[in-house]
Symmetry: C2
Subunit: 214 residues, 2 copies
DNA sequence: ACCTGAACACCGTTCAAGT
DNA sequence: ACCTGAACACCGTTCAAGT
């Protein structure tokens, strides 16, 4: 059955299947043979639609980026720049939280991913419109991405081993035992994200107020 | 020559060789066979010293964490908490910049890595000593790590493709063409890190001033 | 154009055998 | 205890062959 009259595959179907596999079994479960089997074809077929396996994973990451809400950066939106940044950060984090396993790929930077660049473009446009100098507007988009992806990578489904005996308290004089438990870690992630987001936006507010607006 | 009288390998030698290989050729170049060849032994020998390849990479990441300067958090150090955080962030970033290829492993969180935990412990202790409530002190260590590792991951040796034709300006109305060049990207990384670090510390300063110190 | 099976050059890891 | 070669069950990717 060499070639069917109707193509069996499409980039969309491949990305959807790969995304589902990443979500359910993790990045390591995605091999070209396994993914192809999931799609009912043989391994090499994928290479008619993507040049490498990495391109497939980049596309999965981009699909997650595409789910980030950008409406707060629209010209007609009434939110001020600080509120828009805050709301965007929450939406961004929610998207990553829904697909934690792809974050390592996504965190590598927007690279050549269209949705990632669209996000950068929206933030940049809104910050410039709010009065930020272009260079600073670029920095704001990047630093927010650093913080949000960094927090997603360093936290979800990760953290400490749930075996207290793995740590000798003498080695970490200040950390209480509670800090070393995976259960506690989820609360830490949440709190650290909130504290950090608030600090960044407050700090940017200080810098914004000090801008020489001539 | 089954077993020599003096062991050919040690955890230290393996970690050193793996680190050198990661630095020179990247994470993908590290296979157990290749690493073993670099050490003059056969692949399976490594399993006498580490349980998995991943444990080796974790140890490499931990060795990088161990290079982060923590002297600013020492009890006798005269720097205030904000200056200490700032100086620490620069040292942390410098360590990652020296070994950018291991960052994906390191960014997964302190996990079971002793040096990573020592860092967390030092920050926590210094923040509590400065008057931060314990919960907030924990958050500060985590959020700084998010930002620093996120920026290292999203930037170094990454970023945009250096082919202008890869992007259609119509898709990104606000981003100028300059933003899409790899050369420009390095400056963005630097500026975004500085802006972000300043914002975080200024923002934390606001929160610190508002603490109810009774 | 799009899929196939075969093939190439690899993987991580286990294990019995050696000293 | 620590290393070896052989082996298992995989990999990503290329390519000629099929329609």
């Amino acid at each position: 059955m060499a070639r069917p009259r109707k193509p069996l595959l499409s980039r969309e179907r491949i990305v959807a299947a790969a995304g589902a596999l990443v979500d359910s079994e993790g990045l390591d479960a995605v091999s070209t043979r396994r993914l192809a089997a999931e799609l009912g074809v043989s391994g090499p077929s994928l290479y008619n639609h993507f040049r490498t396996k990495d391109e497939i994973l980049e596309a999965v990451a981009d699909a997650v980026s595409a789910q980030v809400d950008l409406s707060m950066f629209a010209e007609h939106d009434s939110r001020d720049w600080a509120t828009a940044l805050h709301d965007w950060a929450l939406s961004y984090r929610a998207a990553l939280r829904a697909h934690p396993q792809i974050v390592p790929v996504l965190a590598r930077g927007p690279g050549r991913r269209p949705a990632g660049l669209r996000v950068a473009d929206a933030v940049f446009g809104a910050m410039v419109r709010a009065g930020w100098p272009p260079a600073q507007a670029t920095h704001i988009g990047a630093l927010m991405r650093y913080f949000i992806t960094g927090s997603a990578l360093g936290s979800f489904a990760r953290g400490f081993v749930d075996d207290e005996t793995a740590y000798d308290p003498a080695d970490y004089p200040h950390l209480g035992r509670a800090h070393l438990l995976a259960g506690h870690q989820e609360a830490v992630d949440e709190g650290a994200f909130e504290t950090g987001l608030r600090a960044i936006i407050e700090g940017l507010g200080v810098q914004y107020a000090a801008l020489d607006r001539s």
